[in-house]
Amino acid sequence: MTTVAEPVALPAIDRGRAGLSGQVRSEWTKLRSVRSTWVCLAIVVVAGIGLSALVTNVEAGRWGTLGLADRATFDPVRFSQTGSFLSQFVVGVLGALVVTSEYATGSIRTTLSATSRRTTVLTAKLIVVGLVVLVVAEVTAFASFFTSQAILLAHGAKALPPGSSIVTQVTSPTIPYVSLSDGGALRAVFLSGIYLLLLALLACAIGFLVRHTAGAIATFVGILLVLPLILDVLPSSISGAFEKYLPSNLGLAMTLVTTRKTDFAGVLLPPWPAVGLLVAYAAVAVAVATVLLVRRDA
């Protein structure tokens, strides 16, 4: 056994307590020190910008062949955010892994025996994974927006007349090019990142509920992909009533700018109520996860 000449003095024990700030630093250390985090974040950035650029390029190329109806729903903002279809699963995996990798290895027991308040662990994980996903998702959303508009410009797109709503593009003979100041564009791009943030938090809560990597990811993917399929096979009177409350459709509602009454009336919620409902879903999942984390044996 090596003896160290001058022992490291630990801070006094009689004041304060193990709290949130230390736990946040701990969770950040854990998050940054495994490769899967960086792989997930790299996919979010590359898929976000790359896939969106690809789709924008293809859609811009088809403009000449589109009829009036299709031109009416030509949404330069949504094309710039197509990558988030993939990213939503990746941030889900990241959010779940932050929790389930600890259950898989058993290190959750070390984590929980380092604090006498389990809620601190859950809060710190949500804060860290939330901040990381928020920053990466927003940067990606805006980078992707500008990349896609640059591609549209290269296809000869013209800016909309000042003050016109994006919906009026149906009368425009050329490919529309959108700037952030155009109606709804800033909101759609910003909420695209918020959508990913809320999904990551939801997945993190599911991780605490399911405590198993494959189970948590399957549950998360099921909510996004399988729930819509189940609704589809139900009578349209039922599915029509519930469709707009599906998390995946809330995401669509948050990021769409060409919502016209004829297309989406009753099918989608308005953007901000959609945010509110998704926040509520995540909050309920977090609340249940908190109760179970405190009650269950680790």
Partner: protein, 307 residues
């Protein structure tokens, strides 16, 4: 100091820990002994607040785990050696835990040095051998320099050198005045390491004593004696007040009389004695006898199954 009182825990219909009351004092190594599945790990998990007892309490220095303000600085635990993310380095693993209790970075290097892992601290823990993982687990327990330490089967998977190292470490930690509570299913290991003993079987307390008392009160002095005329010798010994049984190889096993007395009795009876030796009953045997009806999963040899 760890005090458990009436500690009880069931999983479904299985009662893992059943009304356990014991005390672990500082300054000595206390062995926590019991067959596999007897409730040792469950008890340890309850000490550090991971499992909630159905009844009873367990306190560390008079306080329940959830009343500790800096848990790592008061109680350190090695519960599972491999409980580390395989992709994380040993250093980052310890640093993440250190942050939770405001333990400075320097202490991470210090404990890595104490367990001899300073050379591999930047390697991913997934590449570690079981022995290295055990050392990392011990480093984790020591991180907060706590007064109370729990080790669940710390020598599992270690080579003889590693076992000796753990034994010495545990004793030196206890000598510093810490409470050291070590579980094992190996009596022989505990006999070498521990001073006090808490023995359980099927979640119930069998003994809360010292190793010396445990041995003294549970091993009867036995003497093996061989003689060309066993019948006469047996008669003489029995009339002298000893108990005699016949061993498998024809020797006589005598209790209730020490070797000198057996020799005297044989001489007085005029019986020749060819061998006379005290028998060491191993602690393992004592432990096995005490816990034999407390083992949940008996192994069966083919011969036993056949009969």
């Amino acid at each position: 100091m760890i005090s458990a009182e009436g500690l009880t825990k069931s999983y479904g219909s299985t009662r893992a820990v059943d009304g356990l009351t014991f005390e672990v004092r500082p300054g000595v190594v206390t062995g926590f002994l019991g067959p596999n599945g007897s409730g040792k790990s469950t008890t340890m998990r309850m000490v550090v607040g991971l499992d909630h007892p159905d009844a009873g309490t367990v306190t560390i220095g008079g306080r329940g785990f959830h009343d500790l303000r800096w848990p790592l600085r008061e109680v350190g635990a090695l519960l599972e050696a491999k409980a580390i993310h395989p992709g994380r380095t040993a250093y980052d693993h310890l640093l993440a835990i250190a942050h939770t209790n405001s333990i400075p970075r320097g202490r991470v290097d210090e404990v890595l040095g104490m367990v001899g892992l300073e050379g591999v601290s930047r390697r991913r823990a997934g590449k570690f051998s079981l022995g290295m993982s055990q050392r990392l687990g011990i480093a984790t327990a020591l991180l907060g320099d706590p007064g109370v330490l729990l080790f669940d089967e710390p020598v599992n998977g270690l080579d003889p050198e590693g076992i000796l190292w753990v034994r010495t470490l545990l004793q030196s930690l206890a000598a510093e005045g810490r409470t050291v509570f070590v579980s094992s299913h190996l009596m022989s290991e505990m006999a070498l390491t521990a001073t006090d003993l808490v023995v359980i079987g099927r979640g119930r307390l069998i003994a809360d004593t010292t190793v010396d008392d445990f041995i003294a009160s549970n091993t009867e002095a036995t003497v093996l004696v061989r003689s060309p005329s066993p019948a006469e010798l047996t008669e003489a010994l029995v009339s002298a007040g000893a108990c005699v049984s016949v061993a498998d190889d024809g020797g006589l096993l005598v209790t209730g009389a020490d070797a000198a007395r057996v020799g005297d009795v044989a001489l007085a009876a005029g019986v020749a004695v060819h061998e006379l030796s005290p028998v060491q009953v191993s602690l393992e045997q004592v432990f096995m006898e005490l816990t034999s009806d407390m083992v949940d999963y008996h192994g069966h040899t083919p011969a036993e199954v056949g009969t």
